[in-house]
Amino acid sequence: MFAVLQFPGSNDDRDMVFAMKSVLGADARLVWHKDAALPVGTQSVLLPGGFSYGDYLRCGAMARFSPIMAAVKRFAEAGGPVLGTCNGFQVLCEAGLLPGALLCNRDLAFICAPTHLRVERATAPFTSRATRGQVLQIPIKHGEGRYHLTADQLERLEANQQVMLRYCTPDGDVTDAVNPNGSVASIAGVCNEAGNVMGLMPHPEHAVEALTGSLDGRAILGSLIDFVGHAR
């Protein structure tokens, strides 16, 4: 079962449940941020997008103090797969489960647009359905998505192959012109050292139906479903 966390101000929580359950057929349910424990049977935790606590302080800075986050940390430390999208990515960085931070976009404005992403690492649990170098079309919608790391951190991240996705052209070229928010090394998604926690700014849950634009989000969410299926 996928536990989709619901913080006050989460916006894509119901969309994540819709994508996982109604579209992809997995068991997914909302879990309230004030709960102290994850439901029995949780196989993976999803932190959705939105503006938790209004993001009035710093994105994700308040949500990491929600009671459920201690349980998520324990779950992650025990090797459970955790995926954060957009605000969920920001929360994971604030909670120390992923390196780096997300700053205001380079041009200081919110951007809602389709982006192309090059898959840099095609492994379970998050990208086993993709191939390395494959280009996915998945939208972004954020005001604070410029991924930032120190030079040392970036070097370690690249060396450990923790970069999962980079913004690219439709043909897979990583260029500054198609880096929508000024992220360091065009990074759109990363994982932790152990590879069981991933964060990305694009919204795979908004790319699961041809009717609403793209099917490419299935490469990520479907991988996670495959992984959980195998784990069961």
Binding site: P8, R14, F18, K21, G49, F51, C112, L211
Partner: protein, 748 residues
Amino acid sequence: MKAAALVEPIVDHQLAREHGLSDEEWQRILDILGRTPTFSELGIFSVMWSEHCSYKSSRVHLKNLPTTGEHVLVGPGEGAGAVAIGDGLAVIFKIESHNHPSFIAPTQGAATGVGGILRDIFSMGARPIASMDSIRFGPLDDPKHRRLLEGVVRGIGGYGNSVGVPTVGGETSFHECYRGNILVNAFNLGIVEADSIFLGLATGIGNPVIYAGSKTGRDGIHGASLLASAEFDADSEAKLPTVQVGDPFTEKCLIEACLEAMRTGVIVGIQDMGAAGLTCSSFEMASRAESGIEMDLDRVPQRAANLSPYELLLSESQERMLLVTRAGEEQRVLDIFERWDLDAVVVGRVTGDGRMKVRWHGETVVDIPVDPVAANAPMYDRKQSVPADLAARQKLDLASIEVESDPQAALEALLDSPNLGSKAWIWRQYDSLVLANTVIGPGGDAALIRVKREDGTPTQKAVAMSVDCNPRWCWLDPRAGTIAAVAESARNVACTGARPLALTNCLNFGNPEKPEIMWELAESIRGLGEAAEALGTPVISGNVSLYNETSGRAIFPTPTIAAVGLLEDVERHAVSHFEEAGLAIVLLGDTREELGGSEWLHLRRGLEAGLPPSVDLAHELRLQRLLADLIATALVRTAHDVSNGGLAIALAECSFSGPAGVRIGARVELGDGIRIDALLFGESTGRVLVATGNADAVLERARAVDVPARRIGTTGGPRLVIGPWIDAELASLETIWARAIPRRLEQA
């Protein structure tokens, strides 16, 4: 510390005047009460009888609009109107103005406009699923208007993105007439189970009245009366304290808490505290239920110290709701708000005596009958006169206008104008995807939104919506211009394949106390009624914004129309871009020699004159039905309305890269024996471009329903070629179009 004693000004007819009440209205108050009102009571009368809350200048005309129909569940008078869409579901929608606040404080003014219309929707039990905005500014060469555009867009995006409701469409235009008074009209649509619509009713004697949401502060006092119901002058910025401040995070929690609370079944009535705050909501709820309310202001959650009863009653602090629940069961509702960390307090009870009684510090500060204030507000049939310069406005001798000598340069100039250029700079800043229903988002003729049930189950249905007005046409002929706005909005909806169901409207005009403005308003409402009747699309909600003037100069009459339609099978829809090369391009509708009020005439000849193009409403209806048929049977996958800038602009728009990022050119032959500028850039109504793989079938079906149709060309290639007049590389045209707004904002 001892609470400060109540120190209030002396209430007399002078103070009433300062509150915007006429001497006649002051006398009426004295007659109703049989005594001099208290200061709080005077405040209540002034907001409840303000133009903004009472529609006192427009009601006499609005009552003639068609507002009923087989699908209409709730018409005007509630927070918003509701229309059944089958399968036990209904849509609830409305558009509302936030013009004056947005001129003074663009970001907060626009943000709270979005927040306010959302509350009108979810207070009726619907989940808001789509927002649109109609925004109008002065010319972008004015740095103040660049700042206003940026601020308004930041406000709409900042609120909408954070609250988690997609902004899926809208319109933006620029004109000299808005230099002293911009327009910000916010639309929202929600989905509800048709048998679970909540109304603003304070029924059931003894039932508790609950205040829920944000605490009350000093912001927005007299927003409805002094700000929204009066003209601007040079000192308008001094009105800043009348503007409210928005908190989308609280609104998001409020949406979830209210929808959850409604499922308990113990709520009997609920209403947003919008204009005139606690006063307007409580009076309207009591008035509709023919009941009374007694309230204790000391229980109202407060965020500022020493708020007076006057301030508590009139504050327009945002994100607040008033609820009435069944007695004894209020705790279930209070617990839900508690879970969402929102204030919720019982502040009073429903009574049966038809009076509003308000206590503060143990003292009665308000005791007035409900109905004379709410339901029987003053109503004026104001004097009208035809504008003295109307004949001059409408005068246009086409024969004396030099024919366009460089059509390609004209096309480029039109694409580069902010009114016709791409609006992507604006809508890229809006989350148009959240809720995972957006089939067609910003940039299309109409937005198309798939319908899901509250539990997340998708249906086959989708709703289409579009917001439209050509203010120049309305200035040249308010009645004809309004008819054209209704026709265009409905046509845009029809271009997705949907059947237009109903309308909402936001009537933005100048000072109704001036007979020429009043004539414009009355003419416009007449046109709205005629078009709504002819197209079978009743007007189910709306808003009137008057006094849009600065230093005596009124805006162009701007009746913003939003049409909403239903598509039964979302898979069978059309988009507004060419998707495939080698398809036949068919033009539905006739092109006439009409250049009055056109963008071409304004941009290339510096004239705003003439009569707007004529509208044949019977043809519009036939055209809409034909489109629904062509799209439902998959003969047509691309349909695009021909409007501002005419056929050449419409062809370019179809060719430019759509959401899929593909650019597909066209080769077109025209030749109707009319002057070429009218052929290329004329704005004759009732026309739609379609692309089809089977032109013969399309022509045959058009002929069968008496819609003029002719094949004019073929899709494909990297160029746009129109007869001998235009032969341009699409990529360069698209760059001009895409840069129209950004390049102007980039000037210092």
